[in-house]
């Protein structure tokens, strides 16, 4: 009654999808970091090696932050689902 609409089951499914996505983004962050190291090893030039590794480390850091955000979205969606179930007295 207190919640206008809302679908706990759908929120649970969305939360799982978002959680998986956050894990995938974390893997992507580590992949970007690894590509940076490989590029640095192949560059030959010290300056280019450092810049390539830093650029891909920065992109990797951005991916870590995105993973954190998406993970937060997943957790928030689970919380919203729990609240809906609790408030409406539906099955868990």
């Amino acid at each position: 009654m207190a919640f206008a609409g809302g679908d706990p089951a759908r929120l649970r499914a969305a939360s799982r999808a978002l959680g998986t996505l956050a894990e995938g983004l974390t893997d992507d962050a580590l992949a970007a970091r690894d590509r940076g190291r490989e590029a640095a090893a192949a560059a030959g030039d010290g300056h280019i090696a450092q810049l390539a590794e830093s650029a891909l480390a920065a992109v990797g850091g951005a991916l870590v932050a995105t993973a954190v955000v998406v993970s937060g979205l997943a957790q928030g969606t689970t919380t919203a689902s729990d609240q809906l179930v609790g408030a409406t007295g539906g099955p868990r």
């Binding site: 919640f3 929120l11 560059a43 850091g61 870590v64 995105t66 689902s81």
Partner: protein, 444 residues
């Protein structure tokens, strides 16, 4: 002095990295972006109506963020492949020039021994020519090196401003910190370990724990996207410059537009430039537009525009509204109803939330857990209703304030209460009595 040293480096190794970066950019920029969009849509469809507005604003920006990261990977790959090509060309040219120089030198020595001045001079000139070729190859590589360094530095600047000259691990830390608000900050030491540790599980736990510390997911999401505007803007500007350069180089070359292939290329470049121009907004314009989109669903076009204009006095109404999207006209009736619905539903949500709190406090026939679930849900509804009403009547218009008031409080209270449900249940009796008094005091 001649420089016949073959430049160090592995062009094929670099190209192999670029191939893998290209796959990564597709994964992040397309696959992840698309999954984020669809999961976000699913979550929005399953949320209670009072929370959809805040969620929807964040959802629309999510794929943009991953798209920007995908583009950044493409840009880094482009810079590396440019350097790989230049490196390979220079290595071949220097090797070739060195071999020819050695041949010419041998012939020059023979000619000199045999007392042939004309041949001696000719081979000496050959030697000079090969030395110049090697020098030119080294200079070309130095130019490519500068170009690549600038491009790589630009990409680092997008995500980690000022980190171009820092160690990679510092760029990694700075990029993460730049995109997260303090409430979700990750311990710098953990981030450092993450950078040096190949353990994927550790990385996943770090991301999850960072959020547990904050528990303000929706607000976090909105604020991060709001804060990310400058980075997205920098990407848009870089795209515009690239598209404009291509367009101007074509136009400056007096293209033969009667040639169908040239005409197609010209039109394509012109469209790309115009498209990039349309999306080229400075950071403050992007923020104002994001702010406007967040408010107009609940305050209506005119009031939202006035509020945003107060926060961004240098911008015109057209800049704040931005380019109308494809579905803008279709959504007008929905937006027109938004402020009315928000004004009505805000107080309704407060009332029914209050009723739930009252029921939870007075219905001793319910299990303790269920009573608390209902009470927490009611509190969330009251908080959401208050926030919706405040926004609808114009008392809250700051985007961060909106996100925090409308959603974070609700989710944070709910998350905390559910995580500590057993402990809370122990104190239920005492607080229930207080709640009854509050309810009676408010509503008689």
């Amino acid at each position: 002095m001649s420089d016949f040293r073959v430049p160090a480096g592995d062009p094929d190794g670099l190209r192999s990295v670029v191939t893998r970066l290209s796959r990564l950019s597709e994964t992040v920029g397309e696959t992840r972006s698309s999954r984020l969009r669809s999961a976000g849509q699913d979550a929005a469809a399953g949320l209670p109506a009072a929370r959809v507005a805040a969620f929807a604003g964040a959802r629309s920006d999510a794929s943009k963020a991953t798209g920007a990261i995908g583009l950044s990977l493409v840009a880094v790959g482009g810079a590396l492949v440019d350097y790989a090509d230049a490196l390979q060309t220079a290595q071949q040219a220097v090797r070739d020039a060195a071999a020819r120089y050695d041949d010419a030198q041998e012939l020059w020595r023979q000619a000199r021994r045999m007392g042939e001045p004309e041949l001696t001079e000719r081979y000496r000139q050959d030697m000079d020519r090969q030395a110049r070729r090697a020098g030119t190859a080294q200079a070309d590589l130095a130019t490519a090196r500068q170009r690549t360094a600038a491009a790589l530095n630009d990409e680092t600047e997008v995500w980690a401003p000022g980190a171009g000259s820092l160690a990679p691990v510092e760029a990694w830390q700075r990029a993460t910190a730049a995109m997260l608000p303090p409430t979700a900050s990750i311990d710098p030491q953990k981030l450092k370990e993450l950078f040096s540790n190949p353990d994927v599980t550790l990385a996943r736990e770090t991301a999850t724990n960072a959020v547990k510390g904050a528990a303000k997911s929706y607000a976090l999401y909105g604020i991060v996207n709001y804060a990310r505007s400058p980075a997205l803007s920098a990407r848009a500007e870089a795209k515009l410059l690239k598209a404009r350069d291509l367009y101007q180089s074509l136009k400056g070359g007096a293209p033969d537009l009667d040639d169908p292939a040239t005409y197609r290329k010209y039109i394509k470049a012109e469209r790309a430039m115009l498209k990039a121009y349309m999306s080229d907004n400075p950071a403050d314009v992007m923020r104002a537009q994001r702010h406007f989109r967040m408010l107009r669903g609940m305050q209506g076009e005119a009031r939202a525009l006035a509020n945003v204009a107060r926060a961004h006095p240098a911008l015109t109404p057209a800049q704040i509204r931005g380019t109308a999207g494809r579905f803008d006209k279709l959504m007008r009736p929905v937006r027109a109803a938004g402020p009315v619905v928000a004004r009505v539903m805000g107080p309704v949500s407060v009332a029914v939330g209050g009723y739930d709190i009252y029921t939870a406090a007075t219905d001793s026939g319910m299990a303790t857990d269920d009573r608390w679930a209902r009470g927490v849900g009611g509190a969330a509804s009251v908080a959401g209703g208050v926030a919706t009403t405040l926004v609808a009547v114009g008392l809250v218009s700051n985007p961060v304030g909106l996100a925090v008031v409308a959603v974070a409080g609700v989710v944070a209270v709910g998350a905390w209460a559910y995580e500590n449900r057993e402990a809370i249940a122990a104190g239920a009796g005492k607080i229930a009595a207080g709640a009854k008094k509050v309810w009676k005091g408010l509503f008689g």
